[in-house]
Amino acid sequence: MTMSAADTAWMLVSTALVLLMTPALGFFYGGLVRAKNTLNTIMMSVAALGFVGVAWAVIGYSLAFDPGWPLVGSASRAFLRGVGLEAQGTIPHLLFMAYQATFAIITAALVSGAIVERMRFGPYLAFITAWSVVVYAPIAHWVWGGGWLASLGALDFAGGTVVHINAGAAALVAALVLGPRKDYGRQAILPHSVPFTVLGAGLLWFGWFGFNAGSALGASPSAALAFVNTLLAPAATLVVWTLMDLRRTGKVTAVGGATAIVVGLVAITPAAGFVGPMSGLVLGALAAFPSYYALLWRARTRLDDSLDVVAAHGLGGTVGALLTGVLAQKAWNGTADGALFGNPKQLAVQALAVVASIVYSAALTWGLMKAIGAVTALRAAAPDEGLGLDVSQHGEEAYARGEGAILIPADSVAGPVGAAITPVLQAGEGRP
């Protein structure tokens, strides 16, 4: 294929949009924790931009998108060898690599929601970096890199299995390995800034247009279809969720609204370019139910998946992946029909993709966590957890007031440069 400037334009934008989703996720998550853990939670997402970003260029991309074998790519494109400005599809190959990088980044960041308010930051960095290479990259290869699920015809438009189910399974295991927060179930742990959570949800929705419609890899009608579904499905989820809230408690929670948006977005992700808009609307509406009740149920258990990655992403992604196998319509996607349109086999393939992703992700996440935990403590010490991870892990407060803060005078500036410049600076001190 030849390069298309229009497709390039759209993919430049899409990549930027998906990149924005990671700080947005930081705010979505950051608003849900207590003030004393705000920065730690936000930095869990932001750090992925650095560590997973670099790991992707170094090796992840090659493992995911080099043809390699059915189970994994090869190292032949490590350090972006041979990834240049030549066309990959209709866009520069490097741009395709960058677009995929943003997916690897946010998937790793998603997992953090299960382990907030208690994990040490160093081990966390090691975990997500390794995870993006040994868990994310292979699953991405299976579905999008020409791997075995692609050969079977599994449909995953923008990452229901690769991103959301994968992150949900990893979150479940990570939360179990780490154990619950010490206050969990004993004390009320409330979101310290719901506006940040809503801000995050708003920016996530915005970015998700790049995520889903960008997955068409061009400014095509298929992108438009994915886009419209990304508008309608979460709208429907939000409506249904709101009505369920009204019915159950008479009160429509904002945290619920923000959650509903994310659940709707997650659910439509695998289906976005494969189903018609009315199917998208229905899919969004249906996706509200399992996640709504899963959230309620989870809070009564000892499973401290703190920010409900399993209920929102794991379950939402599963519902979306399966409904893709039901509602897909060749008339819209030119590729495959779902069960409702005469092709029940598709649903079976979808189910297989779901199960395979869960098993692989859960197993390797368990191994990784245990491996890192064998080297160093995964959890912050109990008093550090009590004090809050912002102070204990980052040496900062999110909202410092400076009262009672006593400046530690640094040693006077040493060396000839300091000596030379200090008088100048002091001379400048006078009022103008």
Binding site: A188, L190, K251, T259, L296, W297, R298, A299, D308
Partner: protein
């Protein structure tokens, strides 16, 4: 000298301040607090977590006054802070041994007498 400590509703604060200023009370300190009394508790829900909120927002006033000023001060608060429904708050009158004005190191009576407008910075 006494210290009058009052806990009132936040939405009554403006009225209380006005009443106090009217009584020539010129110095006071307030702080945001939360109170528990006979108020109905609120239930809040955050995803699966349901909590009972036992505390309501209140404002705490602290007013150092000379002895003969206690009655007008208390009465001003009683009159202006009342709504008649549960949760209106309490007033405590505490004994004070000594008062100092930091700016001048004046003591007691003098320390709580308002300054002349002229000397202000």
């Amino acid at each position: 000298m006494k210290l009058v400590v009052a806990v009132v509703r936040p939405d009554k604060l403006s009225a209380v301040l006005e009443a106090l200023f009217h009584e020539e009370v010129r110095g006071l300190t307030i702080g945001r607090v939360q109170g528990h009394g006979g108020e109905t508790e609120r239930v809040e829900t955050y995803r699966g977590t349901t909590v009972k909120m036992d505390l309501s927002e209140k404002v705490r006033l602290e007013i150092g006054v000379s002895d003969h000023f206690v009655a007008p001060t208390v009465n001003a608060i009683l009159a202006s802070a009342r709504t008649g429904t549960v949760g209106d708050g309490k007033i405590f009158v505490l004994p004070v041994e000594k008062v100092y004005r930091i700016r001048t190191a004046e003591e007691d009576q003098d320390a709580v007498t308002p300054v002349e407008r002229a000397v202000r910075a």
